[in-house]
Subunit: 499 residues, 2 copies
């Protein structure tokens, strides 16, 4: 509270500024700059509470919305952070900067494509987790339930049921509810995709979409190129479909190495498709540069491999969605898969697929595999997504995740032993932590369970054995004190294992 | 109305009977017999309106519930029929009796197992249907929406959402909602299955359950024995999974020929599983005798073939569910699949599977294929199914379908050309009609489309080409006048094609 008097004492220059109608910068930006100076000069020291929004209104004679804009701007710039029911605080001094995650060794010989054996590892992981009480969950890749618009979705669902009395007892619409497909087509424009409702098939989450995509373009025994590391759920799908995985080196900064993929396509037969998560890759969190996305598509087309794009996390990128590879697709060579599971409602299994030139086969496989999704949830989601409330929710969720990611990353930087490496991703909820001195992620996982903490060990994200000294930590926990505590505990476990 | 005075004039013998406390028969039975006599003697002629329930109460000095029991009894005996909002009517004179559907020729050599090619036929069927306006739908195997408890389900859904505010934004429970699995386990007792909630996995309808069952026990290229004719949806699943179908002769009266199956298992290698619908087979409507069910299981076990049982329609058998084959399963050799799609809510994709000794693999495949079903619908269905209202609904639905089946069958018997054959099934909503003189079902299908009538041509139920002179007619239409009119139109089409 030492700083408030200082700030309150100098409203005049700003207030005078407001009166100049031709001032170059908008008012909120000037006010934000004023506070930025105060923070950078130390007038507002790290961890200090910011003046309340109401105090800003009073002090600077500005509107409530301007004061809020100021706080948001400072938050976006990483200078302050919101704490639920407590207001804004100056962020702690930047944590010691961690070295970025190690780049893959591109000279190492590629692993051969092989049938993966991930089921047992995942089953074992789930079984081990269930044997222990849980206090902090760094393993679950979804924000906490209250981070999603529960109330609005419930209301939408009740309204849908009221307005369509026969919904539960009539057959579901083929391909999915037109209302949802229409909204999805409109929102696809945000990542540069021009599509119509007819191009979209609603699925049971992105998982079903990926199953359909793979079944549409490949047969058991075929090889599928995937990122290394990659989401264990994808490896499970490959295993269950009898497909071989060819792991392609993937940079924690730039994503899939298109050079490595091209080499593989040139030198190995039977690579039927490439599955890629170009935006906020799981577990790395990286976003492929646009030129890599374009080149990847060209390479796939040139070698006759289908390109399956998983864009589940894309809408959670800081600043909004990046371009999908599908943006550059002219001839239907990209199968685009996504879901609302991370962005709107983890409890609704709503995904979708644009099958490109395989659309008819994808439609047929969906019909044979599970029939159309039931309509109620689709209509509820569509009615919510058609409003601005969805955009506001996404912006809020992105801000919240940015903060939580930063909290976890800062705590790791402060607490973990030297040698720990980490690239802070530009969005989403996942951190890929490289442990120091070859500490085993499986050993950390096991020891952490005993402390009530769940982490995802690196070994689950590849079949190569290359990532045992990694952890994937999700940043779904909204309580900074709990994060601090759990990360400190994890750090102690890592340190103990290092000896 | 001519008969009412007669009946009203003679209440005394019955009323006196009531006073005898030691009378052997319950009151409602004696009263039902009284009306049976009146109908059989012609005192109540065909198509006459029955005395109203209120009139019965007044005339015979009985309670309302006794009068209702009388009507139900007469209805169950096929003597009267209820018409919505009009009361009970004496059934028309029995239609000319049709010869039962032809039994399969057991001496004919079996077709070889082969990859089916049903997708194109089904796609063509759907596309052709969409090109024509619809007035009567004999192709859809579900009762009309109002035959299901719409209102109660909507209420249950709203209540579930109110009581579980985080349901839509929290992860769905693995294996499905415990509440639903518990109710399903309890209700499985009705068909003789002793199971616990842990034995059950909730799926997206019976279709997903069948996919999982087949994927759990077989690999692409394997052979699966199926009934002939069988549901085209099953043939589609086989085609999409790269499995060969071996069609086993199936009697319209007794179902799958266990002898023919045993011969196939003895003489052909690579038959991995048998898929069978023992209760109300689709399209035949037959129920396998208990001794056949038992022997089928023994034969499968002896030859190491998995037995996949589809019991989707079982609960719609007249008088309630028959025994499932799973009843006799001691070692987990039967995979049991079912759904609520026909019995509770065609708009909710709720099915389930008991995987027997393949349960762990089935669980894994479900996780890899689509993740657990979302919880809202499951909890709503569970809360409704836990009450007696569900039993009352099932009884009502069975009565309604019995009547609708009879209406369609009677109309066929009256209107179709001589030589038409049909076995009236003991439940469900499907009739398998054998056309006279080798008339093509595809030709009838095409001509009927132009008249706004949809039927399912026999060719869709097999890959053998044996059933082109059949139609599957569903009895979902609740308006007897519309049925009469549509069947007459169909009959004219058949007659014209016969020339």
């Amino acid at each position: 509270m030492v700083v408030l008097p200082l700030l309150c004492a100098c409203p005049l220059p700003l207030s005078r500024g407001i009166m100049k109608p031709m001032h170059a910068q908008p008012l909120y930006q000037r006010l934000a700059e004023y506070y930025r100076d105060a923070i950078q000069s130390g007038a507002l020291p790290p961890a200090a509470r910011m003046p309340s929004v109401r105090a800003m209104v009073r002090t600077h004679h500005v509107s409530l919305s301007t004061a809020l804009q100021v706080c948001r701007r400072l938050e976006d710039d990483g200078l302050v952070e919101a704490r639920p029911r407590s207001g804004y605080f100056v962020r702690r001094a930047a944590a010691p900067r961690l070295a970025p995650a190690t780049e893959p060794d591109m000279r190492a010989p590629a692993d051969p494509a092989r049938y993966v054996g991930i089921h047992d590892r995942v089953s074992n992981f789930v079984a081990r987790c269930e044997q222990h009480a849980l206090s902090t969950n760094f393993a679950l890749a979804a924000a906490e339930p209250s981070a999603y618009p529960q109330h609005a979705l419930r209301q939408a669902m009740s309204r849908v049921l009221r307005m369509n009395p026969e919904l539960l007892t009539s057959r579901a619409p083929p391909q999915g509810a037109l209302e949802l497909r229409t909204v999805l087509a409109r929102r696809a424009l945000d990542c540069g995709i021009r599509a119509t409702a007819q191009d979209i098939l609603v699925t049971h989450g992105c998982i079903e979409a990926l199953n359909l995509a793979l079944r549409a373009v490949s047969r058991p025994g075929d090889t599928i190129a995937v990122e290394s590391p990659t989401y264990f759920g994808l490896l499970q799908i490959l295993e269950s479909l009898g497909l071989r995985a060819l792991e392609i080196p993937t940079s924690p900064q730039r994503g899939l190495s298109v050079d490595a993929l091209e080499l593989a396509l040139r030198t190995q037969a039977g690579i039927r498709a490439v599955v890629v998560v170009p935006n906020l890759q799981n577990p790395l969190g990286c976003i492929m540069p646009d030129e890599d996305k374009q080149r990847l598509l060209e390479v796939c087309v040139a070698h006759g491999a289908a390109l399956i794009e998983d864009d589940t996390y894309g809408a959670l990128a800081d600043g909004g969605p990046h371009r999908a590879i599908k943006h550059w697709d002219r001839a239907g060579d990209v199968i685009y898969c996504s879901s609302l599971h991370k962005t709107l409602a983890p409890g609704m299994r709503l995904g979708w697929i644009m099958g490109g030139r395989w659309q008819a086969r994808v439609d047929m496989l969906k019909f044979a595999q599970s029939r159309p999704n039931e309509a109620t949830g689709q209509l509820a989601a569509a009615s919510y997504m058609a409003t601005k409330a969805f955009d506001r929710h996404l912006a809020r969720l992105r801000r919240q995740l940015t903060q939580q990611r930063q909290w976890v990353a800062d705590a790791i930087a402060r607490e973990f032993p030297a040698g720990t490496r980490l690239s802070l991703p530009p969005g989403g909820m996942l951190l890929w932590v490289e442990l120091p001195g070859g500490v085993s992620g499986m050993a950390v996982f096991e020891a952490a369970l005993g402390a009530g903490i769940r982490v995802a060990p690196g070994a689950m994200f590849s079949n190569s054995g290359r990532y045992d000294h990694y952890l994937r930590l999700s940043c779904a926990e909204p309580d900074s004190a709990r994060i601090e505590q759990a990360v400190r505990r994890l750090a102690a476990i890592v340190a103990a294992l290092q000896k």
